[in-house]
């Protein structure tokens, strides 16, 4: 006990390290405007509010590649064994022991007629241990070394283990020093390494006078196996390909005819299971998928499985950045669409070991290109007509029930197309709904009686082709429509892609964010009180979750702010406790964000970026510990002239914390 107590009393080691963690991010738009400061004073307006409310977003052309997968258990289609030969001699002494006594003498040999000579053991282990053959041949070659002519030799080959006959054939008239060969099919035969050769019948002619007797010579039997295709064998298998696939798969892309598909995100998942007791190699080549011009190729090495066991290998490949070419196996020969080329080769790698492999051995291969999302896809996106009926929130007047009246506003229906295909839009119906009053006003606008035809977007990420239909008192009842202060807009809209067919000749494209968007745009002069245009947001930080927060010696909160607004913005931050009460302001430097750049019409062009830092000294760490949220206030600083403000302006804030933290151990 005393030992334990003493041992536990070791003091901690302490040091300072620098921890950096991301905190939160937010986007502040006019939806975050502090309405306390929003007043209706058109005559004294410093700003023109341009409010684009998304009514309908058509993502029907989102192209996703279907999962291309293979989940199959292959059995080996074929196996082959090496061609080999063995030689066995059946000596004169074995044929007739009498000649052993006459060895070396020169005598006349009478004609012989013998049957069922003693079997001779033949070691065929050079071929295999055992094999049941689907096809193949055994060549039996008899070389006559006897001093007489062989008139008839009936040779039989048996399995020594059970006496079953492997091959039997007759050889006629083999002159002295000559040979004869017979080929025997081994189809459906089982052959073991232990064989017996039996001469069932041997007839020799008498010699022409005295001849020298050499008892060690006789009949030389050469057994040659060739073209062996076993169904089941225990053998040392040579290197060979057991599966070869070279296929072009036609994929169902759901309408679009895709030529190329650049992967933004996706995975190649490979799983191989083998019961084969010999080493295997699987080569998966996907010529249709390349990264920086290099086709995808994966090689999976499988060690031989233990008898009765299954060997498994898994791999996952990140497909991000790969370009999938769906033009088929050879686009120079046949340029097609939605066609995927893959090659799979499975080879048996000879280890030299004698193992049992059968055609029933299985090799389960699962591979899949899954969860593919495009960065872009090109081809012909098809002719699609979609009718959509629904309602969209109208955020500008959310919570308002009549206190705000816009004067001198302009309205338009704006179609933004970021799809690389021609489109046709037909607005069949728009209706504004004020849920507080229950009023509904249906839009009657003559310009919307016709189709809106819009061209394809430029091939640049995020760029759109726009078409604006202006609505005013002369061509519509837009004033009543808007002054209904709707919270919802009900719509009935047709959108058609490629209304004129494949006019681009497979040059359509879509990015991952491509869509056809229909906005209701309102432009209205507004002004703000002395407080200016203020945007507010609150984000959680949960500083209390930092372990042993009292060990934080100093901290710096870094605010990375991107400003779309064409005005400078003053930023202020304060910490809030769990009930939303202020724990005090956080001083940031610099406090003012530079103005962003806009197009001549006032739309966002390039955001300015400013890094703000708030140093929190040790004496204020306690307030950081209590903080559950950060209140952000952004005051847009006007320049005294009439300015357009789009609700698409954003003030993006990303926040991180760097702290000097005392580590202890």
């Amino acid at each position: 006990m005393a030992l334990t107590t003493v041992a536990c009393s070791r003091k901690t080691a302490r040091w300072d390290n620098n921890v950096a963690v991301p905190l939160f991010s937010t986007e502040m738009t006019l939806n975050d405007v502090d309405r306390r400061f929003l007043v209706n004073n058109a005559s004294d307006s410093g700003y023109t509010l341009i409010y684009d409310n998304l009514v309908y977003n058509a993502r029907s052309l989102r192209v996703t590649a279907p999962d291309t997968s293979l989940n199959t258990a292959f059995t080996l289609r074929r196996l082959k064994l090496s061609d080999r030969s063995i030689v066995q001699r059946i000596t004169l002494a074995q044929i007739n022991p009498t000649f052993r006594l006459l060895d070396g003498q020169t005598i006349g040999v009478p004609a012989q007629n013998q049957t069922n000579l003693s079997p001779v053991d033949i070691d065929a282990s050079a071929f295999f241990e055992t094999a049941t053959l689907d096809s193949g041949f055994l060549d039996i070659s008899i070389n006559n070394e006897l001093p007489v002519k062989v008139s008839l030799l009936v040779f039989e080959l048996q399995n020594a283990s059970d006496g079953s006959v492997v091959a039997k054939d007759s050889f006629l008239n083999i002159n002295q020093g000559s040979s004869a060969t017979k080929s025997i099919s081994l189809r459906n035969k089982t052959v073991n390494k232990g064989l017996k050769g039996v001469i069932r019948h041997l007839i020799t002619e008498a010699s022409n006078g005295p001849v020298l007797i050499n008892a060690s010579k006789g009949v030389e039997v050469t057994l040659t196996v060739r073209n062996l295709r076993p169904r089941d064998a225990i053998a040392a298998f040579p290197n060979q390909n057991v599966i070869e696939q070279d296929e072009a798969l036609v994929l169902d892309m759901g309408g679009p005819q895709v030529k190329f598909f650049k992967v933004k995100q996706g995975w190649l998942r490979l799983k191989v299971e083998s019961t084969i007791q010999e080493n295997m190699t699987m080569v998966l080549k996907i010529p249709s998928a390349s990264l920086n011009g290099v086709p995808l190729e994966r090689v999976v090495k499988m060690p031989g499985a233990r008898p009765g066991a299954t060997e498994r290998k898994e791999e996952t490949v990140d497909m991000s950045g790969y370009l999938l070419d769906y033009r088929g196996r050879d686009p120079n020969v046949k340029d097609t669409v939605n066609t995927f080329h893959q090659i799979m080769i499975v080879s048996l790698d000879s280890s030299g070991r004698k193992v049992q492999v059968t055609l029933n051995d299985s090799l389960r291969i699962y591979y899949a290109l899954t969860d593919l999302l495009p960065e872009y896809a090109t081809g012909y996106m098809g002719q699609t007509l979609n009718n959509s009926v629904g309602k969209a929130p109208f955020v500008l007047f959310k919570g308002a029930d009549g206190n705000i009246v816009f004067k001198d506003f302009k309205a338009s229906v704006l179609v933004k197309n970021s799809i690389g295909a021609e489109g046709r839009v037909r607005v069949k119906s728009l209706e504004s709904e004020n849920i507080f009053s229950g009023n509904k006003v249906k839009l009657s606008a003559s310009p919307l009686n016709n189709d809106v035809i819009i061209g394809p977007a430029p091939f640049n990420y995020g760029e759109t082709t726009d078409k604006q239909v202006v609505l005013d008192g002369s061509n519509s009842n837009i004033k009543a429509f808007v002054e209904n202060l709707p919270q919802f807009i009900h719509y009935d809209i047709d959108i058609e892609t490629n209304p004129n067919g494949n006019v681009s000749n497979w040059k359509d494209f879509v990015f991952d964010n491509s869509s056809a968007d229909i906005y209701l745009r309102l432009e209205a002069p507004v002004s703000f009180t002395v407080g200016g245009l203020n945007l507010r947001d609150t984000q959680g930080i949960e500083a209390a979750s930092i372990p042993q927060v009292q060990r934080v010696k100093t901290a710096t909160v870094i605010f990375d702010v991107e400003n779309d607004y064409p005005f400078e913005v003053d930023m202020a931050f304060s910490l809030l406790d769990q009930y939303g009460n202020s724990l005090g302001d956080v001083s940031v430097y610099p406090g003012t964000i530079m103005a962003g750049k806009t197009t001549p019409t006032g739309e966002p062009l390039a955001a300015s970026r400013t890094i703000l830092r708030a140093n929190i000294p040790r004496e204020r760490i306690e307030s950081l510990r209590k903080a559950h949220a950060v209140a952000i206030k952004a005051r847009v600083v006007g320049n005294g002239t009439q300015q357009k403000i789009y609700n698409t302006y954003k003030l993006k804030v990303k926040t991180s914390l760097q702290a000097e933290y005392e580590a202890q151990f």
């Binding site: 030992l3 390290n17 996952t316 990375d560 760097q658 580590a663």
Partner: protein, 423 residues
């Protein structure tokens, strides 16, 4: 986000804990007191003959590292603040691979028959980026990738009861004496941790708006278990010739069993999956509803893909082997090896130099290897014998005197103190 970062940091710091909690018995070999005196002392005339009435208390603490100076490793032994400039200086001298260990042993011997002993020991091998991540933090490497890796780390904390024995036999014809010493040690496994091939690739962007972490490896922890080890040694005392003594010994050889070994690793199939901690937005009503943070942590946990399992396992105790010899002229030499990561075969050499001040004797020595690279050591003795049979002996050994002199430059330090009372 912070939880997940804490988790990752924790994994790395766990490795450091292993190092911090390490203990050394390598220089002790004193689970049986006679082994200690036989091995560590330069000549036979210094051997303390143990009597059945003796009580001995000994404490050893030691740290060593091939790569980190005493000013850092010593803090893990004794506690205290490590100045940032010391960490910066160490980082500038870091090799790509760093190893080290810390150990402590406390032991109570009663007449050498009953021994209560607590071992805490551990060793670690890690790379330079692991040092940077643990001691400097990811904030010091914004815009850079840290590829922190721990090849191997092991930590043991065991409490043992040793039952000692000894048998001495005089050889025929006056050729010398052979002494067998040993103990059987039933033990309780207080804790065991191991890290295998842990890797954490950490990238923090320049403004820390996202942290990418790719990790793999396994961490094992167990609390509770039992085991049995043995200590044994054979000393051959020569009666003539220049060689006075040869010793061969084995310590802590045995097995521990635990039925609650928790293994943490990454879910299969997620080995190549990078976890991204990044800024995210939360709506106002969720912030004060209080559930947003837990949800975000749960999401990150799913991304981290931590998989855990429990099983029983038999563990090989971290044994030590010794080979020592004492020569009449050349002095004492010992070769030892402990089965712990970061421990290299150690060679001790103690020349025939003895200094004395009054009743205190000093024996200088040098060593190579072990947890450390090299050490200058000093052994001291003080004996007080107020009565004929009774007495008190204080034995103190300081290792790594060079590190004491220049703690910011050299590695390794150890102190061994034993108090022996004979009644």
């Amino acid at each position: 986000m912070k939880h997940s970062f804490k988790f990752l940091l924790g994994l790395l710091l766990t490795a450091q804990t292993l190092q911090a909690q390490m203990i050394d018995t390598t220089k002790v070999s004193n689970t049986v007191v006679k082994n200690d005196t036989s091995i560590n002392l330069p000549s036979k005339d210094t051997v303390y003959t143990i009597q059945s009435s003796m009580i001995a208390v000994s404490v050893l603490s030691e740290s060593g590292s091939a790569g980190m100076p005493l000013s850092i490793t010593g803090r893990f032994l004794l506690g205290g603040y490590i100045p940032s400039e010391r960490i910066t200086q160490t980082e500038a001298r870091l090799k790509s691979q760093v190893s080290g260990g810390i150990a402590s042993t406390m032991q109570l011997n009663v007449s050498d028959k009953f021994i209560i002993r607590r071992h805490q020991m551990g060793g670690i091998r890690f790379n330079d980026d692991a040092f940077r991540l643990v001691f400097q933090g990811n904030g010091a490497y914004l815009g850079q990738t840290l590829d922190a890796g721990i090849n191997k780390a092991v930590q043991w904390d065991v409490l043992e009861l040793g039952l000692g024995f000894e048998k001495s036999k005089k050889l025929l014809h006056g050729k010398g004496r052979v002494t067998y010493q040993g103990s059987i040690n039933p033990g309780w496994l207080r804790s065991y941790s191991a890290i295998n091939n842990f890797r954490a690739q950490v990238f923090t962007d320049t403004l820390a708006q996202h942290v990418d972490v790719l990790w793999g490896g396994s961490v094992q922890r167990a609390q509770g278990g039992f085991g049995l080890t043995i200590n044994s040694g054979i000393t051959y005392d020569f009666s003539s010739g220049p060689w006075k003594m040869v010793f061969v010994g084995l310590e802590n050889a045995g097995l521990y069993y635990t039925n609650d070994l928790k293994t943490y690793n990454r879910l299969p199939g997620m080995a190549d999956s990078t976890v991204r901690l990044q800024t995210a937005s939360t709506s106002l009503n969720r912030i004060f509803r209080g559930d947003w943070f837990g949800d975000r942590v749960d999401t990150i946990k799913r991304q981290i893909g931590l998989d855990s399992s429990r099983k029983s396992k038999t563990l090989l105790a971290p044994f030590t082997v010794y080979l020592a010899a004492n020569h009449e002229k050349w002095g004492f030499v010992r070769l030892s090896y402990r089965n712990l990561p970061g421990y290299l075969p150690r060679l001790d050499y103690q020349p025939k130099i003895r200094l004395g001040i009054g009743a205190v004797r000093f024996y200088p020595s040098v060593s190579l290897g072990g947890f450390d690279t090299w050490n200058i050591n000093l052994l001291s003795y003080w004996t007080w014998k107020p009565i004929q049979r009774g007495g008190l002996q204080v034995n103190m050994r300081l290792e790594g005197l060079e590190s004491l002199a220049m703690p910011g430059r050299f590695n390794g330090f150890g102190a061994y103190v034993s108090l022996r009372v004979r009644l």
